[in-house]
Subunit: 216 residues, 2 copies
């Protein structure tokens, strides 16, 4: 069993990720949470927990990675929080997790980014600072030497997952249930073919496994 | 005469920089300004001007670099603006200027950073997002392949410059007049020994030239 540290475990995607990892054959989850009162929720699923804050120093973050085989970063302040948190969590929190992973030799790293972080595709003026922070986190990961996968999901909704998606380097902009993003994350960790790759993903007609198999 | 593009020319440091470049033997200034009504101020000094916005695309920024030999980035939203501008100007504006410089083969690049951008030295919680953006801009420049110098000034004040400073990799935290920062910037461009180096600088007892000569 490979142990996967989930940063942002208590988030809306993160809770699905932890549950799916616990249900999987190959993985077990270690939920990274900021508040120890969140722990029982994950312990009831049989998941491990680690109480640590993404605003802590790199050494503190590395301190919960000793028994870890892969890291999923699905934390995010979201586009509607103060931009101070966008900087400190979406950009710097992600980068510190990458540096902590390198420090501990945890090579596999999956990052949940925004749908399109390429320059010129950052959207409205209000959205742009958020997209910029995601862009810099993505760039750091590409240059980190880690075995990375960057997942660019479409607009998130809370509909029930269908297990079917559309995934490729470029797909038309569309929505995707958070539960399906979580399925994509877990399957990504099962796909060595996705190491040092990135892709966009929305709702679609192809099973997650098949969709990820087809990414070049 | 080498032509120096000054990003942030209309700022409090930038105005000194343009004037000192115009007074120097080796340089002439091209003031990068956002608003064409700012142009006469610089034209009266005999400086060139380029009306362009740091939120423009890289190609637009590169478009004003054809006749340029070096870039000084002294633009900054300051620590007290909205963090959206910190991201889009202090981080992304600086990075776009670096990318534009690379695109045009303008290799010499001087960046005015914050006093101490090293991890663990980012100061109070309120200051940290600003310091983080400066950290990422610094890091981008270090890895850019440009002939960079990163200048880390102490707390800025508007006292008259003395022409005397304290400059080294590490100096005690202190204030420095903006006019003296401007002198340091201009002298930095005269110092090939400072290529791919960075230093902190505050007010002090050593002439700017001598202080920069002594940096290892």
């Amino acid at each position: 069993m490979k142990k996967v540290l989930v940063a942002g475990a208590n988030g809306q995607i993160g809770r699905h990720v932890v549950r799916l990892l616990q249900e999987s054959e190959h993985f077990e989850a270690k939920a990274m949470i900021r508040d120890k009162t969140q722990a029982p929720y994950f312990e009831e699923m049989g998941a491990g927990t680690a109480v640590v804050d993404l605003e802590d120093e790199i050494d503190v973050l590395a301190g919960v990675m000793d028994d870890v085989d892969a890291v999923v970063f699905t934390a995010g302040s979201g586009p509607n929080t103060g931009k101070d948190k966008t900087i400190m969590i979406d950009l710097d929190g992600a980068v510190k997790m990458m540096e902590a992973s390198k420090q501990k030799g945890v090579s596999r790293f999956a990052l949940i980014s925004s749908f399109d972080t390429r320059r010129g595709h950052w959207g409205s003026e209000a959205f742009r600072p958020y997209a910029a922070c995601k862009f810099y986190a993505d760039e750091w990961l590409r240059n980190s030497g880690l075995e990375y996968t960057i997942i660019h999901p479409g607009k998130l909704n809370n509909e029930e997952g269908t297990g079917k998606v559309n995934a490729a380097a470029d797909v038309p902009r569309d929505e995707i249930p958070r539960e399906d993003v979580a399925k994509v994350i877990v399957e990504t960790l099962n796909h060595d073919s996705l190491i040092n790759k990135e892709f966009q993903v929305t709702k679609g007609d192809t099973s997650v496994v098949e969709a990820l198999d087809s990414i070049e």
